[in-house]
């Protein structure tokens, strides 16, 4: 199990395919992301890519729709909205279909265990149907 502290604020939880734009700059970042992430894809990772910080895990079962969060990349990322709201390389749209908008009124944490994601506010995203 790996866990990270989260600052209070608003987070977007979803597929990097929807968060990173598909223009030249966004595509370059996405390619960099996969190069780094797949060096150890079984780990829940905290990454900084050209000034963008976020958390990312693979799902246990690849593409799918897990408690309101859809993915075509087989991964789910968590990004602090307020920190990156002016970054033109990102689509930080709140309450979007296929994504979760998470409000943390106070500092908390996120944990990933067997590719299931647990937040300190009680919300979770289970991508592993073999683990109850």
């Amino acid at each position: 199990m790996t866990s990270y502290k989260l600052k209070a604020g608003t987070y977007l939880v979803g597929d990097p395919a929807l968060i990173f734009k598909k223009d030249e700059a966004g595509t370059k970042l996405t390619q960099e992301l996969w190069n780094i992430f797949y060096q150890d894809a079984n780990q829940f990772q905290y990454l900084t890519l050209d000034g963008i910080t976020f958390y990312i895990t693979r799902t246990a079962e690849g593409d799918g729709y897990y408690q309101g969060v859809g993915t075509d990349t087989g991964t789910i990322m968590i990004i602090h909205v307020e920190e990156h709201i002016h970054d033109q390389r990102l689509n930080l749209i709140l309450h979007r279909r296929g994504m979760l908008t998470l409000e943390l009124p106070e500092n908390g944490f996120v944990e990933v265990d067997h590719f299931n994601i647990y937040f300190s506010n009680g919300q979770n995203i289970r991508t592993n149907s073999d683990v109850v």
Partner: protein, 325 residues
């Protein structure tokens, strides 16, 4: 006036010996051979190699329906009527699995040709052990992306367009991430993302993805196959966001990368498990009849056309008789 010292140059030609003439000829021939070789080997736009079932423009020949009970009702049907007929055929006995059960199904349907233990990965041809390993090396790739299927929710116990085996392929986890929700776009060589926000599936996989996408467009008639607005992701995971393409490119890829033995075996296995077939693997010419405004006559094999002429048929019969005697 001083006399000019200018004297016209004489242009007397020195006569070449026969040996010199022969040498010149040999040099000329060698230069011509090199020029021809270069012209054949430096062409950046290679002529596609079509199969024996395709004409010189890549269109697949029309196949007889004799003895083919599955598609019998499509006889002499073209265009939208054919699309509707195929929609009914593939949905009639379709028995979808749950998304959880698809994992085990792919262990069977995506086996490499001639193997009982290794899967064939889409986009890069990677090889995986034919057992589910918790997504460590391979997972389920939606060729028509999950987010473009018009579903707001998919759970493991559900059966719907997101669990259709024809659209799901075993894929290396990193390749699945690179493809993500991208539409298919122009490229060459190996699979890669493209600068227009799309994805090129690789030379050896472009025909496979085309036929899968055609199957999805026919089976689920709310899915939209198009060239336009494919970069718009604002309606993903809703019925308004079901666009996939690019159609014109997929039509070309269908010709340039013909149906493979892997696809045929896979189609048979899915028929056993899910109860329906991909018509565009069995009858690739139906793509031209639905999306390219071709008629059955346009796709007749030349020898078939000859047989339709009574005079030519009579000559052929006489020849057969002589051969027999």
């Amino acid at each position: 006036m001083a006399k000019s010292s200018y004297r016209p140059r004489t242009t007397r030609r020195r006569k070449r010996t026969p040996a010199q003439q022969m040498l010149s000829l040999v040099v000329l021939v060698i230069v011509a051979i090199i020029a021809y070789w270069l012209s054949q080997n430096t062409n950046n736009d290679p002529t596609p190699t079509y199969s024996a079932d395709q004409n010189e423009e890549g269109f697949y020949y029309y196949q007889s329906l004799d003895g083919d009970s599955y598609y019998q009702s499509t006889e002499n049907v073209i265009g939208q009527a054919l699309k509707n007929e195929l929609h009914d055929i593939v949905n009639e006995d379709k028995n979808l699995m749950t998304y959880a059960d698809v994992r085990q199904a792919l262990e069977i349907v995506d086996l490499q040709v001639g193997s009982s233990s290794a899967l064939y990965g889409i986009y890069d041809g990677a090889s995986f052990p034919a057992s589910w390993d918790g997504g460590a090396t391979w997972n389920r790739e939606h060729v028509w992306p999950n987010s473009r299927l018009g579903l707001e929710r998919v759970e493991d116990y559900q059966r719907n367009q997101a669990t259709d085996l024809h659209n799901l392929r075993a894929s290396s986890v990193s390749m699945n991430s690179s493809k993500s929700d991208r539409f298919f776009s122009e490229g060459s060589g190996e699979a890669t993302t493209t600068s227009d926000g799309g994805f090129y599936p690789g030379d050896d996989h472009r025909g496979d993805v085309a036929r899968i996408v055609f199957y999805m467009a026919v089976t689920y008639d709310f899915l939209v196959l198009t060239d336009d607005d494919l970069l718009d992701e604002s309606n993903h995971y809703s019925l308004e966001g079901t666009k996939m393409g690019k159609l014109t490119l997929l039509l070309e890829w269908h010709k340039e990368d013909p149906v493979s033995s892997f696809e045929r075996e896979r189609n048979d296995r899915i028929f056993d498990l899910q109860g329906n077939r991909n018509p565009f693997i069995d009858r690739p010419e139906y793509v031209h009849l639905i999306w390219e405004d071709k008629t059955i006559g346009d796709l007749e094999r030349p020898d078939t056309i000859a047989y339709q002429d009574p005079f030519l048929a009579l000559i052929e019969k006489r020849r057969e008789l002589y051969d027999f005697l």
